[in-house]
């Protein structure tokens, strides 16, 4: 969406910003209203990165709007600081700093907790502004006398005292803000933020430090809010205390929802509609105080009927008008062509990043690990070693504790007792993110994909964790310019045979394709040790044959452990097999030994009868 066709959006916005002050007054917009739309639009850019892109709905943005604005206004009035733009930027930095501190608390929880905490934050800041800090903020009077910016270019003096002149000052900063926001959204950080919105657990599991990225989004949103707050004071010549009110946060949320979250332009469109209707209802229809009731009803109706705001509505209309979704049809594949064949020969050596390890030592070793859930021992005293380069099968009846065992190996759950060593290093108690970063990852039994993104974006997200580490702030770089990314992503997609579906959204994939993408996500992070939890579950016989061939082709330079119920496949694939039963290791041996072991037969079949 936003990632394609660079500079088109920027160019269109620049033209629209230049035309707006000449066109909008004819449509009934007052000059002051147009200026306010820009401030709200800029305020919303950061909020949209937090809410629309990252999926964190905050009702506390007024805190940063007010903080940035008050700080800048205080500098310019009480402290007599002469440079308007510098003061606004300082206000932005203070807001960002406050945002960082508040984010540390608010982001401890997600979902509704996050929403509730941000509501509380908003209220706290309002009261702090009114009481303890009223000497600095003017309390309920706010800070009057904020100067308009003025520049001296040689002998020419530029001032921004009229509404029309102020417009250009605001439009310039809106444009700068938009260009930066677009770059952030198109950067690796932006893509990872949208992966957090879609599936935070998988984003963690492919090796991203989700909490730090969330905090980044929170700070970015606070910085935008702070800057917009500074502009508000300059625009009005007065910093109002109601910038801190919960109502301000609410209005921002509603404007963004009306315009369409996740588009960056949503807040601007929403502010245009909101402020125009406010003027219209009050000024033309003389509704007085009822304007807010009317807008509230419109807002509820929009949320009920139009899920993605006005911009989303237009997009849906466009798709409908242009003949629907012919774009991402699956390519007709010859049904006979690929059965049983190995996937295309793609070198996988680059994916497994091999280092010099002692091949005689096990790549992973579990010593006496146990997991207790209340009164249930899911796993007890399991000893498990896998040699480097081995392909190990793990089988066992349902409820044997196989998935719990895998979750402990990948550090998704911590063992109640025992230790786990990976490449000789004790990884007990590490996070799943650390484990993935150190070269150990899993494909899930139930697909854990980033469902609102495309196949290619899914693979990129996983590959980025390998190429950039758990956290990096390359917010201004285009995601496609990350060195080595394109090759890694293309190879992975070729391996799991999804190259032709690269631009299809995950929601349009067939089940078998989703299963392959699930394996692709694990592969793209370049694991030395790949765990596959029931890779064949729910597949058709043909897909099973293909997937077994795929798994065989992945072996080069990699150790794999596979759980599955398909005995034929496991006996075909694995060199050694571990049998779990009732949370314990029953036996371990070659496929031949396992097949003929009476204990295994009994565990599976309930005894062998003569």
């Amino acid at each position: 969406m936003i990632t394609k066709r660079p500079f088109v959006l920027e160019a269109v916005t620049a033209v629209a910003l230049c035309a707006a002050p000449f066109v909008l007054p004819h449509l009934g917009f007052a000059p002051a209203t147009i200026n306010r739309i820009l401030v709200w639009g800029l305020f919303g850019l950061g909020f949209d990165i937090l809410f629309g892109v990252t999926g964190l709905l905050s009702f506390g943005q007024s805190a940063f709007f007010g903080t940035g604005g008050m700080f800048a206004a205080y500098l310019m009035t009480e402290a007599g600081f002469p440079h308007v733009v510098t003061a606004i930027i300082l206000g932005m930095l203070v807001a960002a700093l406050v945002g960082w501190l508040v984010g540390l608390v608010a982001l401890r929880r997600t979902g509704i907790y996050f929403a509730m905490i941000t509501v509380a934050i908003s209220e706290v800041f309002y009261f702090v502004e009114f009481n303890p800090l009223s000497d600095f903020t003017g309390g309920e009077n706010g800070l009057p006398g904020v100067p308009a910016p003025a520049f001296h270019l040689g002998s020419m003096a530029l001032d921004f005292k009229s509404d029309f002149k102020m417009y250009w000052f605001l439009a310039f900063w809106y444009f700068v803000g938009l260009v930066l926001a677009l770059r952030i959204v198109r950067s690796p950080v932006g893509l990872i933020l949208s992966s957090i919105r879609d599936n935070p657990l998988r984003a963690l599991a492919v090796g991203h430090d989700v909490n730090k990225y969330k905090l980044t989004a929170f700070v970015v949103a606070a910085a935008y809010a702070g800057f917009a707050g500074g502009l508000l004071g300059v625009m009005q010549g007065f910093m109002p205390p109601d910038a801190f009110m919960f109502e301000t946060s609410g209005q921002l949320v509603m404007q963004t929802a009306i315009g369409g979250p996740g588009t960056l332009f949503g807040p601007l469109v929403g502010a245009t509609i909101w402020l125009f209707l406010q003027d219209f209802l009050q000024g033309v229809l003389h509704l007085g105080a009822t304007w807010k009731l009317t807008l509230g009803i419109i807002f509820v109706a929009l949320v009920v009927f139009l899920r993605h705001g006005v911009i989303g509505g237009f997009k849906d209309l466009y798709v409908l008008a242009s003949g629907g979704r012919q774009l991402h049809e699956a390519p007709e594949s010859d049904p006979n062509a690929s059965i049983g064949e190995a996937p295309p020969a793609v070198s996988t050596a680059h994916i497994a990043d091999r280092a010099a390890y002692d091949d005689s030592k096990p790549i992973i070793e579990a010593r006496q690990i146990s997991k207790r859930y209340g009164g249930l021992m899911a796993n007890s005293n399991i000893d498990f070693r896998v040699a480097r380069g081995e392909l190990r099968g793990v089988i066992g009846p349902n409820g044997a504790g196989k998935s719990t065992f895998f979750k402990m190996l990948t550090c998704e759950v911590q063992p109640t007792a025992g230790q786990i060593f990976f490449n000789g290093e004790d990884i007990t108690g590490h996070t799943v993110t650390d484990a993935c970063q150190s070269g150990l990852t899993k494909s899930y039994q139930v697909n854990q994909l980033f469902t609102r993104l495309t196949v290619r974006e899914n693979v990129i997200i996983s590959a980025l964790a390998k190429l950039r580490g758990p956290f990096r702030l390359d917010m201004l770089r285009n995601v496609e310019s990350v060195p080595g990314l394109a090759q890694r992503v293309n190879n992975t997609m070729a391996l799991v045979r999804l190259t032709e579906r690269a631009n299809a959204p995950v929601s349009e994939l067939a089940y078998g394709e989703k299963r392959r993408l699930e394996i692709g996500l694990a592969l793209a992070s370049g694991p030395q040790l790949l765990l596959l939890d029931e890779p064949l579950a729910g597949m058709s016989p043909r897909e099973r044959v293909e997937t077994v061939a795929l798994l065989k082709s992945l072996r080069e330079g990699r150790t794999m452990i596979v759980i599955d119920h398909d005995m034929d496949a496991i006996f075909d694939l694995a060199e050694r097999i571990t049998v779990l039963s009732e949370g314990k290791v029953l036996v371990e041996g070659t496929p031949e030994e396992i097949k003929n072991d009476p204990v295994v037969q009994e565990a599976y079949l309930g005894g062998v009868h003569e």
């Binding site: 809410f51 209220e123 706290v124 009481n131």
Partner: protein, 291 residues
């Protein structure tokens, strides 16, 4: 200077406010626990209860009628809102649910402003409960003391509904695993409707009985909503005992801080919430997985 009589009476005020918050938070938390919807219009339900009670009072002059009619009205409004709007949001993301309940709250507040104006309305306490009473160690407003008893009774009724009835069992089961309750063949739709109504009524009831203490205005619910959120975060989502404990803690913090400087009440409240989030992220009596 710290004055002991003043301090004790503020402690009492804290208990009264805490009980009130506990009742409102219980309503919020059973709705969230059962339906999975965080009702941002909960503060507006409190406000609505106050206005409905005031209206009933001004026609009948009876406080009892005001309480009963007001509660019934808010129950009805809750049921209608659940049927007409909330029901279509169960399958939608949390954010959409937050947005729509936020919008509903605004519509209710603005509708109240439209019909009743911005000036606050007062409901006098019932005639037998006017004045102050001598408790031996201090003088205390009679109605506030009665309010504590009224709210305590309401909390006990809610407890009985939750822990001693079939509906309550379904609600508690739903808080742990609503999918399972659905799978057991219980008509969840009817239960959801009732729970939303009862949850809203808890807030509405609190709104009426509090009207003789704090007069009713369109914005009275906003502060209550924020305090309720803090209560739920401190106590833990989905926990009735947590709501009671959180309510009492929040009530005391607000009252005692207000004795020194009301401006810091929210700061202290927020500090307490932060402390809980750091030490026990799921709330004092909350359980992981209920979010």
């Amino acid at each position: 200077m710290l004055n002991w009589g003043n301090f004790v009476s503020q402690l009492f005020n804290g208990v009264v406010l805490g009980a009130l918050l506990a009742l409102i938070a219980s309503g919020l938390t059973i709705i969230y626990g059962t339906l999975g919807v965080l009702n941002l219009a909960h503060g507006a339900m409190f406000m609505l209860g106050g206005y409905a009670g005031w209206l009933a009072y001004s026609y009948t002059g009876s406080f009892l009628v005001a309480v009963i009619a007001g509660s019934a009205f808010v129950l009805l409004v809750g049921v209608i809102i659940e049927r007409v709007i909330i029901r279509s949001f169960y399958g939608r993301p949390h954010e959409d649910q937050l947005l729509v309940t936020f919008g509903i709250g605004i519509v209710m507040v603005e509708a109240a402003r439209f019909f009743f104006g911005s000036l606050s309305k007062t409901v006098p306490p019932p005639s037998g409960l006017v004045g102050i009473v001598d408790l031996g160690f201090m003088m205390y407003p009679t109605y506030r003391l009665a309010l504590l008893a009224i709210v305590a009774v309401a909390l006990i009724v809610l407890y009985v509904i939750l822990y001693r009835t079939r509906l309550g069992m379904i609600v508690r089961a739903g808080i742990e695993d609503s999918g399972m309750v659905d799978a057991l063949g219980i008509n969840v739709h009817k239960v959801f409707m009732l729970v939303f109504g009862i949850g809203a009524m808890a807030a509405g009831f609190a709104g009426i009985v509090n009207a003789p203490v704090v007069s009713v205005s369109p914005d009275v619910g906003e502060a209550i909503l924020v305090q309720t959120f803090v209560v739920v975060v401190i106590g833990g989502v989905g926990s009735f005992p947590g709501a009671v404990l959180g309510g009492l803690i929040a009530g005391e913090i607000i009252s005692i801080t207000s004795m020194f400087n009301p401006g810091y009440a929210y700061v202290m409240l927020f500090a307490a919430m932060t402390l809980v989030l750091v030490l026990r992220p799921y709330g004092l009596l909350g359980v992981a997985g209920r979010e």
